[in-house]
Structures are given as C-alpha cells and as structure tokens.
Subunit: 336 residues, 2 copies
Amino acid sequence: MRLRLPRGVSGRTVEPMDTARRRAERVGDLGEREIIRRISRQTDPGRGVRRGIGDDCAVVRVAGSTHDWLLTTDPVIEGVHFLAGTAGRRVGHKAAGRVLSDIAAMGGEPLYVLFNLVAPPRAEARWIDDLYRGATALCRRHGAAIVGGDVARGPRLEVHAFAVGRCPAGSAVLRRGARPGDLLYVTGRLGGSLLGRHLAFEPRVEAGRWLARGRWAAAMLDLSDGLASDTRRLMEESGIGVDIDADRVPVSVAARRLRDSRPPLYHALCDGEDFELLFAVRPRRAAALERRWRRRFPNLELNRIGRATAETGVLAVVSNGRRCVWAGTGYEHFVT
Amino acid sequence: MRLRLPRGVSGRTVEPMDTARRRAERVGDLGEREIIRRISRQTDPGRGVRRGIGDDCAVVRVAGSTHDWLLTTDPVIEGVHFLAGTAGRRVGHKAAGRVLSDIAAMGGEPLYVLFNLVAPPRAEARWIDDLYRGATALCRRHGAAIVGGDVARGPRLEVHAFAVGRCPAGSAVLRRGARPGDLLYVTGRLGGSLLGRHLAFEPRVEAGRWLARGRWAAAMLDLSDGLASDTRRLMEESGIGVDIDADRVPVSVAARRLRDSRPPLYHALCDGEDFELLFAVRPRRAAALERRWRRRFPNLELNRIGRATAETGVLAVVSNGRRCVWAGTGYEHFVT
C-alpha cells in the first residue's frame, strides 16, 4: 500500500521546450519507470546475466550450474509502505513478503533473505524483535532463511529487503513472453489492500513454482502497483496490447467496503499491493490449466480476466460489450 | 565516514534495575552489536547456511556446487555516510565500494550488485545518473555487474546496496579462525578517511582473493568502524585477545593532517571507513607472506601491527615497551 490515492492521469504538466531545458530535470518530474530506464542506461550487463533491470528479479546464470539464480530487492518505508504505529510483526511480514512475491513471480524457489534496517534511536528494541519474528515466520513457511543485513540510524523506520532464489536453468518466467491471443489470469481477489491485506498477504510462492514447472505461464509478474499499471508492464515487455474483461476482474470484499467516490472495480484496477500473480497462458492450454489448478489449489481463486491483443501498447477495458481504451494508471512513485 | 566523532566510552548510563525494567528498551540504548545479537536470536539458520548474521558476508552453500555464495548488504545514507551536496559519482562509488569490500574481506569474487535507491522528488535526475555511473565504473573494474534494484520516494538520499559474490566451496575467510600467537596485518594506511578517502577508497578485492587462495589469512575482515572496534570483532569471533603495536600502525597522511585535539594514532585506531583488510596469519607463514606480498602487490602497503594473545577479550596497545589495555572503541551506531 502507498498512502497516496492512485490517480487516473499522469499529472505531469507540459512546459514549453526551452523552459524545460533550462531547468534541471528532477526525480519528481519523472515516473518510476523513466528513472529505471535511465538507470539501465548507466549500467551494463555482466557475465551470465540473463535478465537485468526491468523484471521482478534479475536472473543470473553461473556456468555449469543446473540452476539460475534470482536476485531482487524492495524497500518498506514508514509513511510510504506502512503507517507509524504499525506492529513490527506486520512490517516484517510485509518486507519479507514483497521480495518473496518477486521470486514467486519468476516461478522461483526462495532461499535467502537479507535486511538493511534503518531505525531512529527512539525506536523500541521490542518492535525490532517483532519485525524479525514476523519476517522469520513468513520466510520459514516458504523455505527461506534470513541470513544477514545491516543496521543504521535514520529519522524513520525503513527495511530494505534483498532476496536470493533459484529455479532450474532456463525456467524463470519473465514479463516478456506473452503473445497476442494469450489469455490472462490472476490469482486471488484485487483491490482495497489498504484496509489490511497489504500487511498480511501471502506471497504466491507455491503457485508461481507450479506454474513455472508445468510451463503454464508464458509471462508473469506480481501485482504490486495495481492491475492496470502492472498490465502495462507486461504489455511493454511483451510488445502486446491487452483487453481486460471488467466483468471478470475479481473484486475483493475490501475494495467493496472502501465506499469512497471510486467504484470497487476502480480499486481492483488501481489500488496496488495485491501481491497476486498476473500471467499469460497460450489459449490451447487454458482448459487444462483451469482443471489442474482447481485440483492443486482448491482454496486459491483463479480468474481469466482478459486477453492479449496485437494492438501494441493499447490497454482496453471491456464491459457489457463496450470497449474503452484505459488511459489511467495505478500508483506511480514520483509522478506528482 | 560517519559524521559523529568516535568516542572513548560507551556512554550508556546505568539505571536502577526497576527503572530500567519499567522503561521500554530503545534502539538508542543499545549498540549496533547488541541489536545484531538480538536480531540473530529472532532468525534461524536455513538450509546450506555456513555463516549467517555476524560476519562481513553470509556464506551459503548449494548442494553439488563447486562454489559457496557470499551475500552482503550495506546502506549509504545522506547525513550519515555522505554530506548533502556530495557528487553522485562519489556516492555511487562508495555504495558499491562498501559491499565489494565486504566480499573482499571473505576472499571472494564479486559478481552482482543491486541498489535500492531512496530519493526526494527534488533530487536531480542527473545526480542519480552520476551515482549509477560511479557505481558501474567501480563494479566493472572488479568484474561485477549492477543487475537490478528499486526506487522509492523519501525525505533524503539513501542507497542500499546488496552484493552477491562467490568463492571456491569452503574457502571463505571468516572472522573466526585466529589463534593466540597469530600475527595481525593490515593493508594500506589508516585514519582520516573523513578528508576524502571514504568516498574514493578502492576495495581490496584482488588482495582478499589472493590471501584466500593461498590460505594466508586464518581470519579476516574489512575495516569499516575503525581498527580498534573491528579488532574487537575479530577477538570476539575468534575468542582471542590482541596486542596492537602502536609504533607499527600505519597512520595515513590524512590522519596527520586533521590537526584536532586527538593525536594521529588515535584517528588511525578509531576513525573508521578505511576499508582496508585486517587479517591474522600463522607465525610460521609470516615471512613467506611478506616476501610474496611485496612481489604480488608492490604498490599496496602491508604492515604487521600486532599479535593475537590468549587473554580473551583484552585489547592492549603496546608502545615504547609500555602495554596499556585499550577501553576505547571506534564508531558505534546508536550508542549515544
């Protein structure tokens, strides 16, 4: 969860060309994606890097190994990802959960987690204990261990989590790989995570591994910034368009309970921090997937919510036979 | 560099027992080491973890692999590790350098680096570009690649770096392993890094690997918190005492240039952020080490600065035949 409401438009104002040039460009003028694109240009791919910046995890291969390694990192920051006063156990759960979810989104097996903790001197030692207890409980459930980290003083609480996972060589499911005609699925129900789920979600590690093992998912990512925004990432990486079937989007009870000016479907599309899996399946395999899924995960909902199209870059929402191009986004860091 | 001066005493005040119990313990009451000890108690060792929390890197082994993996993380924070206004290139160098130095201290080969960047919206995009350029240049020189990371909004600039390295299975040099009688060596010159070196140091990756390959170092760590403080860590992990020969401690030109109320030797012992290697060598191998070192690293100073003793926990400084037990420490986060 981020504490700002998502917005329907990017909000960046257009300036006359010469004014824009005279002013130094600031992080606040750019979106998170543009910053990451810039970062990619300053760095260079190294030995054995199968996938660098731009996916849920980096995928690296070491010569002679039967496995590829998955590397990922996520911040959890007071005032951004949780409110002051939140129980340490829940913050620890979230910090570990975010990186485990990234590994799940590649179809990987999580192994090791490290935490960089920033804390003000007034923070209660017991709160920190609880944070590690919460993180350890979740990691243990998914077969991972917390093996290290560092602590530093700062004005507010922050946890920077780093995770290492693995998958059989060549089996990582990337964001690229979806083709026009593929069917799109999501696990669980979406929206309203602000009401509590953002601190208590279960990363879909088992589901992700199962999808990768059976080669069911042609492309996959986890929903961190909202279905609309994350679908755009899948589109960009795969070079496709997407039609979302609004009547099939699984809206959570929490999204219905929010009762603000936005309809529940809007929350399901835009809220973010669902940490469910979004993935593309070839149409000929869809029926078999749905059958096997029900047997393997009887308690985890799976919904077919749309279809990949050849209209590269066009995200459309279809409802009652009407098709509208969707210009809105989910939460974007920095764009104000 | 940390912007607070190191202090000679721990500064923790003793309270009557029942007052202390009634008050919740706060992070500011504990030292960094005590916090890390508490964290260790909340976490549990996992599969294949040879060394968890408490060394420069975690060491993990994957069944069937010819190599162990080294995992580490370090923060670099505005106002703590660098001043506002510092060039992005230098901050990037430091952020990458700190984690490469951790891997050097295990005798490892750095492979991959990830950055979690926290930045305020007013930060200049060009500064961020420079940060990644500085980090990439250093990583490339040592054979590592920046493969991922995340960005988030925050009140001040922070870089949380994570690194993955490797070493032949079983060859990582730990902090434990020194025995009474071992001779202690440091690379380079110490103290005064505040004057600039803390932003421009070269992590001792080549030296660390060479020391591990030849099994010269029985125990090793990098000097991040000051020779005195880091020697205590070696002592704790190895269960030894240490006599430091004050006349042999290599004092840097910068430490002499500081000209404050402390003598240059004090700076060499306490300043921290030297990022040189401190290691223990069996006495029968010392002469050969010194000979080979001069051939292999003609431009990197190596000094024998002391000896491990059987007086567990006692750090003494010997000068002109006088031996004084040293109660001071280097910089400790949180102890105020």
